[in-house]
Amino acid sequence: MKTPEERLNHFNACIESEVKIEPKDWMPDEYRKTMIRQLSQHAHSEVIGMQPEGNWVLRAPSLRAKKILLAKIQDEGGHGLYLYSAAETLGISRDEMIEQLHSGKAKYSSIFNYPALTWADIGAIGWLVDGAAIVNQISLQRTSYGPYSRAMVRICKEESFHQRQGYEIMTTMMNGTAEQKEMAQDAMNRWWWPSLMMFGPPDNESAHTKQSMQWKIKRESNDVLRQRFIDKTVDQAHFIGLTVPDKNMKFNESTQQYEISPIDWEEFKQVISGNGPCNHKRLSHHIKVHKQGKWVREAALAFSKNQQKNKATLFTN
């Protein structure tokens, strides 16, 4: 038996030497809580993110587009399942996580509180939102919790397809009719700033960053990741003729980076605290569907109990 001090030293040594923390390893309560918070938030984001995209599945403009979008949403749902399972290794059940989502205790990515208004939004979500997510997730492949790190490796492979799917939609529309171009630019205007906010508040204001960096849950800071996304994405926008909705954006020759105007963090705070365009809709939809599906889940449970009873009778007779 190790003393509490020895356990903590061992944990810290693992973190220090890049040895992944595994479900049966001892870990500080705060580390466990942080991991549960982050994993459940990530899982819920994947699931809630199915809603704005699902909004366009029935209206997708070609069979190919419909198939690709459906397959993409399925990937997101699959990521959700995968991440719920990773979170369950820390001693919380999926039911509990869903309860916490419904009560507001658990969060999901604020980006999904914006509406998908036109077909171009499906392009913008894939290109910008998934593009931002990938930058974050590539970094998370090196996170210290084993199951999360492995989930990220797998998820990143699929996400890169999603980003290409989004960019392909934007490219096709920018090569299309005047109306299509207008739709694409409009989507760019609406999704650009929210996708920059996805990386979270600036480093000096981020509540969780410091401890998470020490524990190597988070490997790079919000601002570093955000800048990486900007530099990658601005060139992609220009390449297909889209304008970045930031008149004062400059390219700094010496740093080789784009410098953007200040982000409207007030909007971010508003959306996070429940006042975005779709906060109520997204959550109430999830609650409604969950309630409607209750009888299906109960039937499955009752059936499986009956089966076990029947088996037992078979053996006793």
């Binding site: 069979l63 419909k66 459906l70 397959a71 009956n306």
Partner: protein, 252 residues
């Protein structure tokens, strides 16, 4: 009716069935009772849409008017769709959607099985590809129906209600017209009468296991393969065709 026209119509019927099945199943996206079933329903939707794409492309070739498969899929009017009535019915609750897939996949499994021997090589090849997927839809929906029938009182009621609602659209699956007549003797199409007994047997086996019973002597609705639909199809098409209709000629 000449063979080519008949084959075109037949291809459209297969394509439309797949498209409408896929469209209805896709409605379950982010609406499933549990994430796993949400994914299962949309996975089935993907299967049907994939099969639809092949059949529309074949139909476009047969038509020879330089239209794309997408144009055929998205720009016809209500009376020009040849899907069966069962698939265009609204989803209702999860039991009704599952019942639709169950009754339809039991039929499609037999149809595609017979079509693998079609004298038309393209149809035979598409059937060979499609049947693997359909068999899985049948297996999954059968298991669900048995679980509902032997689950809780509520799931039993819901699945019996679903059966009562959907059953009257099943005779339409077997209703033949000139298109079938023109192709059966050539060994291209399947005589649907020859599938009916096997269909009843496989459906009844599952319904019995689920303690569900068919109400006999209900009025049976027919006409889908001739383009005589229920009112629901028009609404489905409105939504599905919106972008194609609003931006004619645009490429997406």
């Amino acid at each position: 009716m000449n063979t080519k026209k008949a084959l075109y119509n037949y291809c459209l019927r297969l394509a439309d069935n797949n498209l409408i099945a896929g469209q209805r199943l896709a409605e379950w996206c982010s609406n499933g009772p549990i994430l796993e079933e949400d994914l299962a329903m949309t996975n089935f939707a993907l299967d049907y849409l994939g099969q639809a794409e092949f059949h529309y492309n074949y139909a476009a070739e047969l038509e020879g008017k330089n239209r794309s498969g997408d144009e055929i899929a998205f720009t016809r009017s209500e009376r020009q769709y040849f899907n069966c009535l069962l698939l265009e019915q609204p989803n209702g609750d999860f039991a009704q959607s599952m019942m639709k897939i169950f009754l339809y996949s039991a039929f499609a499994k037999l149809l595609l099985g017979a079509l693998t021997h079609s004298q038309d090589e393209r149809l035979a090849a598409l059937a060979t590809k499609g049947i693997k997927e359909i068999k899985y839809h049948f297996r999954h929906s059968s298991e669900c129906i048995i679980r509902f029938g032997n689950g809780t009182e509520e799931s039993q009621h819901r699945s019996q209600f679903a059966l009562n609602e959907i059953w009257p659209y099943t005779a339409d699956l077997f209703e033949m017209n000139d298109t079938d007549q023109a192709l059966i003797s050539l060994g291209i199409a399947v005589d649907l009468n020859s599938l009916h007994t096997s269909w009843l047997l496989s459906v009844n086996e599952i319904l019995n296991a689920a303690n569900l019973s068919v109400i006999h002597n209900q009025h049976m609705y027919k006409g889908g393969y001739k383009g005589n639909h229920t009112e629901h199809l028009g609404h489905l098409l409105c939504e599905m065709q919106y972008l194609q209709r609003a931006h004619p000629g645009a490429i997406w």
